[in-house]
């Protein structure tokens, strides 16, 4: 169905890549490495899930990296300096980020502005605001943090499935269900197929736009909390460029950058591919970690070229027109 063939290709790339890695470094094929990979990329998986919705709807959200940065600083300051209980701080930042996303969505819809511009402004705004709060790294020492970091499910083979990896998987599954099974999900595809048409068909385009960016920012806020667990600190410069990593994951996952087609599961595979490359480089030890970026870039090129090919194919009317029953 929708976007399946590109997803299959992504899956094949992942499996083949993983097999190649495993041939060179047999240790890679262990639950321990896989568990770490999930933990290291938990925040990326969460934002990329939100980004998938945005991109399928024909938009883009450049603000997510900054929202993550802002969240870490806000949470750290709230807990450590302002004496707010962690849970309250979490709820507050989630509400705040959702409102931020809703505002961007509203601006995009009401003023009919390109999402690129609006979320670019959002990116500067959120990053600037986090500098305003604090320019230095604020360590978090609250007991919740060590409890959460210590928590993990044991997997066969000695691997650990950490709490933040579990959060990511839960959000991922939620995202898949939301996109696949609900009216909201169908409307996301509808918007990506054409805003004007969707509106003529009775989709409340304005409300949908607001909800989609709200979802993306909400997930970016969640990713920020997860990131703060991961680093046990809040820093205004954290997660710089994560918006680009997540866009890359979405595109590698077979979602059409022009909208209308794609899947959350593909995005997850895209995140895993990026994580796999990173892991390979760590194992190798001699390669600079910037090779991750280069490899990701090459993959991106390949996938975009592939998509263009598929789109061109799809444009041609198929020979197999269905007959009219008489």
């Amino acid at each position: 169905m929708k976007g399946l063939p590109p997803v299959l290709i992504t899956a094949i790339v992942l499996v083949v890549g993983f097999a190649l890695c495993a041939v060179q470094f047999p240790n890679i094929a262990s639950t321990r490495v896989v568990g770490n990979l999930l933990t290291d990329n938990a925040f990326l998986g969460i934002v990329a899930t939100g980004m998938t919705f945005v991109i399928i709807s024909g938009g883009i959200d450049l603000s997510v990296g900054s929202v993550i940065g802002f969240t870490t600083v806000f949470v750290a300051l709230a807990i450590e300096r302002w004496g707010v209980p962690p849970l309250v701080a979490f709820v507050a930042i989630l509400v705040l980020s959702a409102a931020f996303g809703a505002a961007m969505g509203a601006v995009i819809h009401v003023f009919d502005l390109p999402p690129f511009i609006v979320t670019l402004a959002g990116m500067f705004l959120a990053r600037g605001a986090s500098f305003l709060l604090s320019t230095e790294s604020v360590p978090i020492t609250a007991p919740v943090y060590s409890t959460v970091s210590d928590f993990a499910l044991r997997m066969p083979g000695g691997g650990r499935l950490s709490a933040i990896a579990i959060i990511m998987l839960v959000i991922l599954i939620g995202g898949i269900l939301l996109l696949r099974l609900t009216r909201f999900g169908a409307n996301v595809y509808a918007l990506g197929g054409g805003r004007a048409t969707a509106s003529l068909m009775g989709v409340a385009v304005g409300k949908m736009t607001i909800k989609i960016y709200m979802l993306s920012s909400l997930l970016a806020g969640t990713a920020g909390i997860v990131f703060s667990f991961y680093t046990s600190a809040g820093y205004s410069l954290s997660a710089v460029g994560v918006e680009l990593d997540s866009i890359a994951a979405v595109v590698i996952g077979g979602t059409l950058l022009t909208g209308g087609q794609g899947s959350v599961i593909g995005t997850f595979l895209g995140v895993l591919i990026q994580g796999m490359i990173q892991t390979y480089i760590n194992f190798d030890g001699t390669l600079s970690s910037w090779w991750t970026k280069i490899a990701t870039g090459i993959l991106l090129f390949a996938f975009i070229a592939l998509q263009q090919g598929l789109v061109a194919l799809a444009r041609r009317p198929t020979a197999a027109r269905a007959g009219v029953a008489s």
Partner: protein
Amino acid sequence: MENSLDPAPPLLEVRGISKSFGAVRALQEVDFTLRAGEIHALLGENGAGKSTLIKVVTGVFPRDAGVVRLGGDEVAPRSSKAALEAGIATVYQEVNLLPNLSVAQNLFLDRQPMRFGIVREGEMRRRAKALLTEFGLDIDVAAPLGNYSVAIQHVTAIARAVDLSARVLILDEPTASLDRHEVEILFGIMRQLAKRGIGIVFVSHFLDQVYEISDRITVLRNGRLVGERETASLPRLELIRMMLGRELAETTGARATASDRPPREVCASFENYGKAGYVAPFNLELRHGEVVGLAGLLGSGRTETARLVFGAERSDGGQARVEGAPVRLQSPRDGVRHGFGYCPEERKTDGIVAELTVRENIVLALQAKRGLHRPLSRREQDEIAKRYVKMLDIRPPDPERPVGLLSGGNQQKALLARWLATSPRLLVLDEPTRGIDVGAHAEIIRLIRELCDDGLALLVISSELDEIVTYSDRVVVLRDRAHVEELAGETIDVTNILAAIAADGAAMQEARA
């Protein structure tokens, strides 16, 4: 009815609607009345304001002045969603569905059957299937809509609107891409709905259909109301005069048949040309100064033949020749290089570039043919654009307007102009008169003849058999993706074509008259 005591207010009452787009006054104080249970035709030339009226009433465009009452209550929907909720369902002129969604999702978008917040996919597909069966369509509803032909997409759009069970159903040129059989089915359903008390607005340029289905007619001209009549008491010539504001120039003069003229040279020939699963191999000879008509039901392989001839699709066998020399047609570029032109059926997806101006659209193919290093000067462009705007009577006659802002029929003319501007040796026209008003229709047929007398070879696809008969020297009939018969000279008439299309006689009954 003439009784002034009639207490029930009309179902839909439109009073004094005005709408301007910048300097263009698309509607000026238009009134329109729709009663419950009637089928009301809204007619007028291309650009008369029919689609604009519909969009204003359904809230797609804000109106400048006027009121709309539905069942006596004033309504002012601000989006088509609001109009839907008020009880007005519309199929707009541009097929307004989403090619990336499945057929079932398109039919049930925003009103899918739900359980616990989850779309019941199976139930939705079952209902979609049942709904389309009523329209005589048996297709895989889980496949993306974009995989299907325009006709099927159009039927889907209509089925969706019908299923919304609104009080008012508006259909803007619903039959433009349907063949006879599908039109019959649609009319059956329309009559059924009207019997249930639903008011139906029907826009069409096919006057036969208007007389067949409608109870009353409202005519617009240049954005103004000309009048409202009972269909039964309005002679056709009178109707045309209302629409055009003048008499229709007589165009059905006899045409010199092939035998009266010196034999023509072969322009392009195709031997054993075909593609597996697309069109069965065929032989086709196209001569200078000759019109070859392609007739057949929808999906019989007409458009497919045209695409093969032009090079938009590759054949997997056979030999093509241009002026006797063997050529390979691998892509539309090859077609253009050999002097072919192709006016596709789907102007929205295959042809027109909505953002570009009329001038830019017209010179597009010519520029592409000349290559980038030989750009047309602005003066040449202006001249060409002006010439074709005049020749085809594109309205408003402003070459600098974005084509997307033109009415549907005028976009079609701009597309035709684009290929004429390349002075091709062979021109393939797929449904050239679709969506074009009676006046322009006659113009285009006249033009086809003139072009042909100038030595152009023409291959024309049309669902209107009368039309094919008028201008064709030869008619190739297709059935089930194969060329089944070729008629020439005296044997070309509607009955013979129908007989060839049907073969089993089924379509003969349909033709009745």
